[in-house]
């Protein structure tokens, strides 16, 4: 339609048309003459508003996105710092049962104490190392395993591809949490086994993404000219393929850190991860369920999980936009 393509002209002509007699208008615009007089003023208004709000709408995320990315980065970095120094910063020994039991949040213990008189804040701060540290380790491991398999499958194709991808489909056919639970239960409840179980369910997405990128790269011209220049498959993968898949894969990994933390906490919550004295957030929430009226037992570890998940997700989003400026427009 003419008005929509020339948005600046739209309101002007619309204002003139309302006063102008119908026949002149119908003669002026050929095809939509019947609906023109009825819909045109409305449409012009709608377009005028839409283009204004549309422009604002498009601008809003852009203006907000960067601060959100910034805040997310600060929060995520703070949690990573807690991974390293949480135990030192904590006001109390996370395992010491030295305070009165069930102290509500206050001056004695900022976030209260649990059923054994342990300081909740100290347990959250020292638990960061367990939850986030293991989540990071898990993400790195599944990224390495998944990317390697995806690289091999995508690059060599044929039966290698078929084998790897059918295996990937097999794992992905199961619900993530259920499969992780089954694996963890089969391996026996321990943090290490929980990470292994989570690894089993989290590598396939990397394999899929990396494989699809490799498939399109493999047919690209610079890979072909590399092969023509006598690159071995290893050199071709190392120089031509890997650097071109690493960016998106790292973004995927950063988006996955929150999910990994949630999955590990979930396994611990179900008693398949951290053993009782270990200050792990999921198991803290789990034990809080038995004391539902003592809200601070569950809320604060839960908030810790929440902030980790959200901040790493936003961080991943910001990273993705940084890698691909065009993707930020949607």
């Amino acid at each position: 339609m003419a008005p929509s393509t020339r948005s600046e002209d739209g309101p002007l002509t619309a204002g003139g048309d309302q006063a102008a007699p119908r026949p002149g208008r119908a003669g002026h615009q050929s095809a939509p003459s019947r609906q023109g007089p009825q819909n045109h003023p409305n449409r012009a208004d709608g377009i005028g508003k839409r283009s204004l709000t549309g422009r604002l709408w498009r601008r809003l995320p852009k203006g907000i996105r960067t601060p959100v990315g910034l805040i997310a980065a600060v929060v995520a970095l703070a949690w990573i710092a807690m991974c390293l120094f949480g135990a030192q910063v904590a006001p109390h020994d996370p395992l010491a049962q030295e305070l009165p039991r069930f102290t509500p949040p206050g001056s004695t213990a900022w976030l209260g104490t649990d059923e054994l008189g342990r300081d909740v804040l100290s347990r959250i701060l020292s638990g960061a190392r367990v939850t986030i540290g293991l989540a990071l380790a898990l993400v790195v491991m599944s990224m390495v395993v998944g990317s390697l398999l995806g690289l091999v499958a995508g690059y060599f194709g044929r039966w290698v591809d078929e084998t790897v991808m059918r295996f990937t489909d097999l794992v992905m056919a199961f619900p993530t949490v259920i499969l992780a639970m089954v694996t963890a239960a089969a391996l026996g409840a321990s943090l290490f086994n929980a990470v292994l179980a989570a690894l089993v369910v989290s590598w396939p997405q990397y394999a899929r993404v990396v494989r699809s990128m490799v498939l399109s790269l493999r047919t690209s011209e610079f890979v072909a000219s590399g092969r023509l220049l006598g690159f071995s498959p290893a050199r071709s993968i190392r120089l031509d393929i890997l650097p071109n898949v690493s960016g998106p894969t790292l973004v995927l990994a950063s988006l996955d850190i929150g999910t990994a933390a949630l999955l590990l906490s979930g396994l611990s919550f179900l008693g398949l991860g951290a053993k009782p004295p270990t200050p792990e957030w999921g198991s803290m929430v789990s034990s809080a369920v038995q004391h539902f009226d003592k809200w601070w037992l569950g809320v604060f570890p839960g908030l810790a999980i929440l902030t980790v998940v959200i901040s790493f997700n936003f961080l991943g989003d910001a990273l993705r936009d940084a890698f691909d400026p065009e993707a930020g427009e949607a």
Partner: protein, 306 residues
């Protein structure tokens, strides 16, 4: 074809290529093509006539369904998953799309160095130096004499200068160059390998008109300087005519006409060649559209095919 010449360096014999699909696409239907040392052959034809498929067959990137490619008298083994045999790196290729002909994540110097590395390993760097020393001042406007004692560029920076760019550009990434510059770099990369044969698959079709001619000339000059045979593929007869010794015209997967450039240009025998020539716009200011037959016109098998 004239048979007074020596052995062809690269020869395709009755090549058939069929792409799977429903129905299968017969991209190349019995094409024979010979490339002799040091010559420039222009392969022209419209989009989809099988030119690019032939290029991939001739470089070994694609395995023909039928027919064979011979390089220096030896059958060329289509490139599989393994490393390309060292001897076959004497066939190099420049691709069509300047946007993807270079690895975006590697510095230009590293990519040109790949070519140099393979030339040294094949032992071709020394040989070609002697060759280019004999007829040195063939290329006009050439910034020669960078290194008088070695006959050709031996570093990425020297190659960049050779293709008309700055030596400082070596440290940069492909994204900071224009399409024409990238094609120059891609040509430098391929030619740095000191190939016997350079297959250029529409290397200029994505460039603007003035850059097209310059890049085409540059590639021809550099190839001639090293004694490299050039198979220059294009749909633009007006540019190819300026650089090619011989022309091969393809239509619908077959060769419909071949011969010395002037002969094909002045006296085309096949109706498709005629319409291809007629399709070249004449810059006479009249603004006429070229007179061509209706699109999709099928030319019957012509006796000039062989």
């Amino acid at each position: 074809m004239s048979s007074d010449r020596p052995q062809p360096i690269l020869e395709a014999d009755n090549v058939y290529v069929e792409y799977r699909g429903t129905p299968p696409v017969k991209a190349v239907r019995g094409v024979s093509l010979a490339l002799y040392p040091g010559e420039v052959v222009g392969l022209v034809g419209e989009s989809g006539c099988g030119k690019s498929t032939m290029a991939r067959v001739l470089t070994g990137l694609l395995k023909p369904n039928r027919g064979e490619v011979t390089y220096r008298g030896q059958p060329l083994r289509p490139l599989g998953l393994g490393r390309r045999p060292l001897a076959e790196t004497g066939i190099q290729m420049v691709f069509q799309d300047p946007g993807s002909s270079l690895n975006p994540r590697r510095r230009v110097e590293a990519q040109i160095a790949d070519g140099l590395r393979i030339a040294v390993r094949r032992g071709a760097l020394g040989l070609a130096d002697e060759g280019s020393g004999e007829h040195s001042d063939e290329a006009s406007g050439e910034r020669s004499g960078q290194r008088p004692n070695s006959g050709g560029p031996s570093t990425p920076a020297e190659w960049l200068v050779r293709v008309g760019m700055e030596a400082d550009d070596a440290r940069r990434y492909p994204r900071s160059f224009s399409g024409g510059q990238r094609q120059r770099i891609a040509a430098a990369r391929a030619l740095a390998a000191r190939p016997d044969v350079l297959v250029a698959d529409e290397p200029i079709s994505a460039l603007d008109a003035s850059t097209q001619a310059r890049v085409a000339y540059l590639m021809t000059t550099l190839a001639a300087r090293q004694g490299t045979s050039l198979l220059f593929i294009s749909h633009d007869l007006s540019v190819v005519r300026l650089i090619a010794d011989r022309l091969v015209v393809m239509y619908a997967g077959r060769v419909v006409e071949r011969g010395p450039t002037e002969q094909v240009w002045n006296d085309p025998r096949h109706p498709y060649t005629k319409s291809l020539l007629a399709a070249i716009p004449v810059p006479d200011g009249a603004g006429k559209l070229p007179a061509v037959g209706p699109a999709g016109e099928i030319y019957p098998d012509h006796e000039a095919t062989r």
